[in-house]
Subunit: 307 residues, 2 copies
């Protein structure tokens, strides 16, 4: 799956991923109205609204992008109906041959981590049969519990040719509270980065590992260091655009082969129609605003990389 991701990135010349994090406030009125008319102002109505919203964005952008990253929290907040919309979104993106990075940030120990891995990137056994629960291609994983928490994901990924992205340095303002603490002069995120590189050796694709890392766009100097510590690790980069990360800051997240990083934008793409720059598309044609925002993002990053 890391090979497929890299092939798609190379063919499309687009090291980007669209974050499908549909807050209800992003969904245009006409979509919400239709959903609420059918299901009422209920969890089912909200789930239908975000699913229809996603579908339009996927239809309008899937020929330009290698991957999507649905953020499961935005679905989970609507309980079971929300998670049904998450599953529909994953299945639909699979039909469109997109690589799906489930942003689930799970992490537990032993058999519990195995259960998460089985549910999201593997198959669960029921009697004589086995089933995919959610069936993403990659998931994000929290490293706080150490190797016991991460290894079960790697084991399941090996069977399925799937992968993970481990949180190393997150994009938020307070990420440094624990992640930047110095251990014998080395910040914790570097120790985590070293472990990610080590875990990654257990499951290698062509040049890059199935075990990737999350490093926020908002900390470019740290990204530069982490790039060197983890040479064969794909870096998933949140924080571009709405959170303040700029294309020129992202150059050092890439290797000299032009690969090694994939940059996420969520709000900046899916709620593009709310920005002044894309207002001309109007809320009725929000998906065209998203398409234009994808084109602009690809150009922006390409420009920075070619400098």
């Amino acid at each position: 799956m890391i090979n497929k991701l890299i092939d798609k990135i190379t063919n499309l010349q687009a090291p980007i991923v669209v974050g499908l994090d549909p807050m209800l406030a992003y969904v245009p009125e006409h979509i919400k109205k239709a959903a609420f008319e059918e299901y009422g102002e209920t969890l089912e109505g909200a789930a239908e609204a975000i699913w229809q919203f996603n579908k339009k964005i996927v239809d309008a952008t899937c020929d330009l992008i290698p991957a999507v990253k649905p953020q499961i929290a935005m679905y989970e907040q609507f309980g079971i109906p929300g998670l049904v919309a998450f599953k529909k979104t994953v299945d639909y993106c699979k039909e469109k041959d997109l690589v799906i990075i489930g942003d689930i940030k799970r992490g537990d120990i032993g058999s519990t981590s195995t259960a998460y891995a089985v549910g999201h990137v593997g198959k669960v056994q029921v009697g004589a049969n086995s089933f995919y629960g959610f069936d993403e291609d990659f998931v994000t994983v929290n490293p706080y519990l150490g190797t016991d928490g991460v290894k079960p994901f790697i084991d399941v990924c090996k069977e399925e040719n799937k992968g993970i992205f481990v949180l190393v340095k997150t994009s938020n303002p307070s990420s440094g509270e624990f992640q930047d603490q110095l251990v014998d002069g080395t910040p914790l995120y570097e120790l985590v980065g070293k472990k990610v590189a080590e875990w990654g050796e257990q499951h290698m694709g062509k040049g890059y590992s199935y075990v990737g890392a999350v490093v926020g766009a908002t900390y470019p100097e740290m990204g530069k260091v982490l790039r060197k510590i983890m040479p064969n690790t794909y870096i998933l980069v949140p924080g571009y655009g709405a959170q303040g990360g700029k294309a020129k800051d992202l150059v050092h997240y890439f290797n000299k082969d032009g690969l090694g990083a994939i940059v996420n934008s969520s709000r900046g793409i899916i709620a593009a129609y709310k920005q002044e720059a894309y207002a001309k598309f109007t809320p009725e044609h929000f998906e065209e605003a998203s398409r234009q925002a994808v084109i602009d993002m690809i150009e922006d990053i390409k420009g920075a990389l070619s400098e």
Copy 2:
């Protein structure tokens, strides 16, 4: 909700919580057979089996225990049907007036953490209406992303009189990989513990905070130190029994008032019938084995605390 938890612990003289982590391998054949006859060897069949298993255990133990801790991973592995069984279990335990600690170990940033909080311990707004998604009383939270990740949970909990338990020192063998790293001579888990105490001041109940901590039974010396660092923090203690933690090790997790800690057992209770000590109950009466295991666990801890 922390007050309710403490009242129930005091009235029942039982500082324990039963972990509802139903792996299919724990479910006796007759329960599985009935479920598979109705739904086939499918995700729905598996979900029915774990739900019926839970129901019997809850019925057999609910008059003895203050709380349950369903581990969501064990349900999530069965996809949507599994999560429906999780929700049914939460609702059923609520009917029985048990305090429900959702062991979800979520953690993200800003609006994403808010979404998790809203879905699990709060209400989500849909148009003019609001709905509970899963509606646990407490959830476990991962601290790796810092205050940005935890604060949104606290904000939602304040509105709802609910609470969280933040992972401080987990019970697994490799938990030390990052958690024990020394920062200016202080292990990271102590820094996290200090933050938990600080966060807890924002949302206090009677003597104890709505912001609790998870500290594994397998590291009693660290538990002793953390108890002092977080005097007003309730400690949720996993790792008793099956993972090797013994009652005598747990004494220092409690304060002098006899409160301050709640000890979890999962496998040791729900799969008690598989242990030699409870084999006489037979798999057909597994729930009676669970009841006896609860009684024995309460005695074991009471004995250790009175010494």
